[in-house]
């Protein structure tokens, strides 16, 4: 079942940010969103994840199928890597966390408290969480922040594995992930007329 979005208008803090957004994402495909800071990428992704309602337009194929990851990883500093992952796995009704530990090379860290990890290691753990959700559509907001080149390669491999398994991914990013097969969509043309005014306060609403 593809993810399809028709003529979506989105607001942030009550002011329209994007208008007339339409896109479709087939299983097995990845779509990379590009656009300058404040152009509405986060708003679009949060709306697709169901965290914010659109002003108008329809989203099909997202309900209960989206795994969302944003700037905050939802990790508890006082829980170990294994405990953090096991918690999210059981919330999503999954059991096996070994695949996730394997994909992001977290085996050596699995008994460490998440609070003692470096920023990049935390990010890897946050991304590993996607693998224990069992959800087909990954909606990722700048997933590679604080990752080194090696970890970006791990991430690209994980996305590729997810696509091969029939999943799909929608990724907002500013860097080259090395996913040559992915489609790219620049969202700047969908900017609402007065969007420039709201753009500057984008981060304040996070």
């Amino acid at each position: 079942m593809p993810l399809s979005i028709h003529d979506l208008t989105l607001a942030r803090g009550g002011v329209p940010v994007l208008t007339g957004v339409s896109l479709s994402l087939q299983p097995g495909r990845a779509l990379i969103l590009r656009g300058p800071n404040g152009s509405g990428k986060t708003t679009l992704l949060r709306t697709i994840a169901g965290l914010a309602p659109p002003l108008s337009g329809t989203i099909e194929g997202a309900e209960d199928r989206v795994a969302y990851a944003a700037h905050a990883d939802g990790l508890k500093a006082m829980l170990s890597v294994t405990e953090n992952l096991t918690f999210w796995a059981s919330v999503f009704g999954q059991i096996d966390i070994n695949v996730a530990l394997e994909a992001y090379d977290l085996h050596a860290l699995k008994d460490r408290l998440a609070g003692t990890l470096s920023a990049g290691q935390k990010r890897r753990l946050g991304l590993a969480r996607l693998l224990v959700t069992g959800r087909p559509v990954w909606v990722l907001d700048e997933p590679t922040v604080s990752l080194d080149a090696q970890a970006v390669a791990m991430f690209a491999a994980a996305v590729r594995g997810h696509l091969e398994g029939g999943g799909s991914a929608l990724i907002a990013t500013h860097i080259d992930l090395g996913l040559s097969e992915a489609d790219v969509l620049d969202i700047s043309p969908f900017r609402a007329a007065d969007g420039a005014l709201v753009g500057a306060s984008d981060e304040a609403f996070l």
């Binding site: 994840a49 989206v66 700037h71 405990e83 059981s90 999503f92």
Partner: protein, 218 residues
């Protein structure tokens, strides 16, 4: 759901989780009262049920601003909102975890503190019963307040101002039941009303909490 309960309990018991803070606060408030009003047993025994109830209520309030704020800051709430678990259920579980780590210890500690305030003999049983019936409502209503103020920087004081008026019915009937019990009168009417308030808030509040939390997460 059990995973969420277990996680919240584990977090509360680990370092920095805040378990015991409410209890220590309750202890200190109760110990301060004889210093303030004088050590005469006759005076203390009259005000003991009310003081213990107010102390328990304030101790409950103290830990509310951690209930959702920490999960909001680290993004857990966003992820829970997109998880298969309904937000209503998640918030009910968080309220239950709050009661188990804050309300229940207060209920168990209250009789010991009753001795410090010369609570009359027949009052102990009814004090425990009224607190056991009333404190779940404090956690559930508190969860609503926490959901309402999520995302507001330094929302703790606002949370207290919003939640305290909602605690009034529970306090009135809870303290009344404990007072009548201490005087050897029949506390059953107050206890029934207290139980009614608690059951109604457990049944209805999670829906209100989830609705305001969804607004807060936008």
């Amino acid at each position: 759901m059990i995973a969420l309960l277990r996680r919240d309990l584990t977090l509360a018991l680990r370092a920095g989780g805040g378990f015991g803070l409410g209890l220590a606060f309750f202890l200190i408030v109760t110990v301060l009262v004889p210093f303030g009003v004088g050590p005469q047993a006759a005076t203390l025994s009259v005000i003991a049920p009310g003081i213990l109830w107010i102390g328990a209520l304030l101790a409950c309030l103290l830990s509310l601003d951690r209930l959702l704020a920490l999960d909001y800051e680290d993004g857990t709430l966003d992820l829970l909102a997109t998880a298969p678990l309904p937000l209503e259920a998640a918030l009910s579980i968080k309220a239950l975890a709050h009661w188990l780590t804050t309300g229940l210890p207060l209920v168990l500690a209250a009789p010991v503190l009753g001795i410090l305030l010369s609570l009359p003999g027949p009052g102990y049983l009814w004090l425990v019963v009224s607190l056991a019936l009333g404190t779940p409502a404090l956690s559930v209503i508190g969860t609503f307040g926490a959901a309402l103020t999520v995302g507001i920087k330094r929302g703790g004081l606002l949370l207290s101002l919003l939640v305290l008026p909602l605690y009034v019915p529970t306090l009135i009937f809870g303290a009344e039941a404990a007072r009548r019990g201490a005087l050897g009168q029949d506390p059953s009417t107050s206890l029934l009303l207290l139980a009614g308030i608690t059951l109604a808030t457990i049944a209805l509040m999670p829906f209100a909490s989830a609705a305001v939390l969804r607004m807060g997460l936008r």
